[in-house]
């Protein structure tokens, strides 16, 4: 009926006074938001500001305690995600919701509310390829989703919503797993669709660049409250940033301490010698990786995701066995055991820390003590755990790294995405560090935390740690590294000191045309 009246398919969305509490914490406090039909709306806020909670309330994943939802001006009741879908609301969650064991095609078809009881695959495949022909980008449909790279998964998530013909798309940090080119491509497409008034988009992001390039309007949350918003054209990024952090002071960025000229080169601390690893199918994922990292040096590994970065981090953190090759730390062969990590002071922040570096159901304090729970003062007589020192240490780290949590006793899985990251970093950086391995450390963090975490990494370098930084964000690599390496198809394709190279050269090697 709306379509007939206005010719606009896009939905208008409005929330009035949304409130949602988790225990004592008000994750949302009287939040009102308005999205015009056919607009591209950005939702900004620090980690833990309540952005994900707000959109999950809209989608019926959580029930707000107060407040109402209007769609095209009419009161809507969304009790569960199924209701939301029927109303034309679709969401890409911060964590993927595609089913890993199903293929792309199966994922698309089963997500349809009217999926047939018996599926005629020949017919569905024809319909799908006709659908894909109308889309400006595609994703593989015949492989199980578990075998897709992050970028492909994200495209498939968005394709799924378009396939379901949803008229308002909510995207929770959709670009954090994409390269800047992929992100521009996908957001550009969505922007085109909003301009044509086919869909409205609400996007949560931490990247101002995306806000200014694609969004029409913006809403800013801080600590669960709406603190501002308006048309993007009328606001500067400084203004938005100011609203996001409020009166919190951002600490000054740690500077790179230059080594005195003429001093002898520092000793090599971390050496990767011919690392070779294969995946389940027997395909080489690490193909003779050789790399040296000296003390007081950051070596940044750039590369398009899926070129062996994840296996490399897994190998270094003992999650993947090597087919061949050795890791040396100060000339000693390094086996990734708990004892060796402790003795050689090796620390790290892997990708997806919630999955790879925490136990989600255990408390923040326990997770923060993973490195030290079996040593004094946390342990007496070598076996008796004392929770007291563990808790007080956790309190200190929570304060120092500004981890937003209700208490040290909350389950770490309940923290917002960015705060899990901080909690893990707090654990890993709190002691004396000789070797630091970090993968995408600022993935999904707000700009205040980004600045802070990069400072911490730089501080570690300045105090003599050998840092291996694996990142898909080239700006991060160029800002922090002393030496840049490019990883392509499982091997190190290029190494150069940061002063002797440039973006174009690195980009060429990343794309594999050297």
């Amino acid at each position: 009926m709306i379509e007939a009246r206005t010719g606009v398919r896009a939905l208008a969305l409005e929330t009035i006074g949304m409130t949602k509490t988790f225990g004592a914490l008000a994750a949302l406090d009287d939040v009102s938001l308005r999205v015009e039909p056919g607009s591209f709306h950005a939702l900004l806020g620090e980690n833990g500001a309540g952005k994900s909670t707000l959109v999950k309330c809209i989608m019926g994943f959580y029930q707000a305690e107060q407040g109402s939802l209007l769609l095209d001006g009419a009161q809507a009741v969304v009790r569960n995600p199924r209701d939301a879908r029927a109303l034309g609301l679709g969401m890409v969650y911060q964590h993927f919701t595609l089913v890993p064991c199903l293929t792309g095609a199966e994922n698309l078809v089963i997500s349809r509310a009217d999926a047939p009881a018996v599926i005629d695959w020949a017919k569905e495949k024809r319909a799908l390829s006709a659908f894909l022909d109308r889309m400006p980008f595609r994703a593989p449909l015949d492989a199980p989703v578990s075998q897709l790279a992050a970028g492909e998964k994200q495209k498939l998530e968005i394709l799924k919503l378009l396939y379901l013909d949803q008229r308002l798309l909510i995207l929770d940090e959709p670009t954090s797993v994409l390269t800047p080119q992929e992100a521009d491509e996908i957001l550009g497409l969505l922007k085109g669709m909003t301009d044509a008034k086919e869909i409205s988009v609400v996007m949560i992001t931490h990247k101002f660049r995306e806000v200014t390039a694609f969004a029409d309007s913006v809403t800013i949350l801080r600590r669960g409250r709406r603190v501002g918003g308006g048309l993007v054209a009328q606001m500067s990024t400084q203004e938005m940033g100011g609203l996001m952090i409020g009166d919190t002071q951002i600490s000054a960025r740690a500077a790179r301490a230059e080594r005195p000229p003429g001093s002898p080169p520092a000793e090599t601390v971390l050496e990767l010698a011919g690392l070779l690893a294969t995946d389940e199918e027997g395909i080489d994922v690490l193909d003779r990786v050789n790399l040296k990292v000296r003390a007081g040096e950051i070596v940044g590994i750039a590369g398009v995701s899926g070129n062996g970065q994840a296996p490399l981090v897994e190998a270094l953190s003992g999650q993947r066995t090597l087919r061949d090759g050795r890791i040396f730390i100060r000339q000693q062969a390094f086996e990734p055991t708990r004892d060796a990590y402790h003795r050689l002071k090796v620390f790290g922040l892997p990708e997806e820390p919630l999955k790879n570096a925490t136990v989600p159901h255990m408390t923040v304090a326990e997770n923060m003590a993973f490195r030290s729970f079996d040593r004094p003062p946390n342990t007496r007589f070598g076996w008796w755990l004392s929770p007291g020192p563990m808790r007080s240490k956790a309190r200190e780290l929570i304060a120092r790294y500004r981890v937003k949590t209700q208490s040290p006793e909350s389950a770490i899985g309940d923290l917002s995405g960015g705060n899990v990251q901080r909690a893990v970093l707090a654990r890993e950086l709190s002691g004396e560090v000789d070797v630091l391995i970090v993968a995408n450390p600022c993935f999904g963090l707000d700009f205040g935390s980004v600045s802070e975490i990069r400072s911490r990494i730089m501080e570690q370098r300045n105090s003599g740690a050998a840092v291996l930084l694996i990142s898909e964000d080239l700006d991060e690599i160029l800002e922090l590294s002393d030496k840049v390496a490019v990883m392509s198809q499982g091997r190190i394709a290029y190494v150069a000191p940061v002063g002797e190279t440039d973006r174009a050269t690195i980009g060429r090697h990343m794309a594999g045309h050297a």
């Binding site: 994943f61 995600p81 209701d83 089913v99 064991c101 199903l102 089963i110 599926i119």
Partner: protein, 306 residues
């Protein structure tokens, strides 16, 4: 050993595989269905025994063995439903409940089954696959029961349905990623409840085979752990119903090694060969523990592989 002896041994292996494997097929398919939904039901041993008892008792009272099969399925479905219901309560562990249900099922069967140890009930008929050969040995080795054929048919239907029906996809989705299922508005608990119930039905039917066909009577030592071994079998079959059938036949054949050798006069190591299925179970568990392929095919939500 001369040729005819080898033929006899092979024939009794095949015969044994066909005869002994049916309960394995049903329990494994039931477990496969349950595990595909993301839950483990270790109680199928109890389901099997209760199914055997119900089938025997029903057949005895009504004189209709197929009614007994149905009763066995219903008894199994009831146990499955209890398991499915209890597991959906918060903080309940499916493995622990499974073990409780195993004890509950066997206990119930022994309690009500006391009266049926003596009397003899009508048994299920058989189909002679080898009758046309005119050779008595071949004919007796290749005698099968229609439950075997039904089991194979169920496996094929399940295998097809997992890939080609809405229900199949929803089941796999629930088993692989509960958050995705929830995001799609699927009731995870309901799917698992139904899968566990249906899985219990299949396992109960497997029990009916034990008491109504082979060995073909009701007593307390009827099952020798088939219900538990099915769990290993499902892992070995990597959650594929068709491979479940093959694995079940393999288990049946290993179980027949001892009797087969005995039939040609090899009595040495008889007990050792009788233990072959259990040794096979162990080897499978050891082998699949480090198998990356098994890990990849496992439903993501399974508590034993998570």
């Amino acid at each position: 050993m001369n040729d005819s002896l080898v033929v006899i041994v092979l024939l009794s292996l095949v015969g044994g595989a066909l005869r002994v494997s049916t309960p394995f097929i049903f329990v494994a398919l039931g477990e496969c269905l349950t595990e595909k939904s993301g839950r483990v039901n270790l109680g199928l041993e109890g389901t099997l025994v209760l199914g055997a008892m119900s089938a025997y008792a029903t057949s005895y009272h009504t004189g209709q063995p197929w009614l007994g099969v149905l009763a066995a399925g219903c008894a199994g479905a009831m146990l499955g439903a209890i398991h499915g219901f209890v597991c959906k309560l918060p903080r309940v562990n499916d493995v622990a409940i499974g073990i409780a249900m195993m004890l509950f099922g066997t206990g119930l069967a022994f309690f009500f089954g006391k009266a049926y140890i003596q009397p003899s009930a009508p048994r299920l008929g058989e189909i002679g696959l080898g009758d046309w050969t005119g050779d008595a040995k071949i004919a007796s080795a290749l005698q099968i029961n229609s439950l075997l054929l039904i089991g194979v048919a169920v496996a094929i239907v399940m295998w097809w349905a997992f890939a080609n029906t809405r229900w199949g996809l929803i089941l796999r989705m629930t088993g692989d990623s509960a958050p995705s299922a929830k995001a799609m508005g699927v009731s995870v608990d309901l799917v698992r409840f139904l899968a566990t119930t249906a899985g219990g039905f299949l396992a109960g039917v497997g029990g009916a085979f034990l008491s109504l066909y082979y060995p073909g009577s009701w007593n307390q030592g009827l099952s020798s752990g088939q219900g538990l071994m099915a769990v290993a079998l499902v892992i070995f079959a990597r959650w594929n119903p068709l491979r479940c059938v093959i694995a079940a036949l393999l288990f049946g054949a290993t179980g027949a090694i001892g009797p087969a050798l005995q039939s040609v006069g090899v009595t040495q190591g008889y007990y050792f060969f009788n233990a072959a299925p259990y040794i096979l179970t162990l080897l499978i568990m050891v082998g699949s523990a480090g198998s990356k392929r098994a890990a990849r095919d496992a439903p993501g939500e399974l508590s034993i592989t998570k």
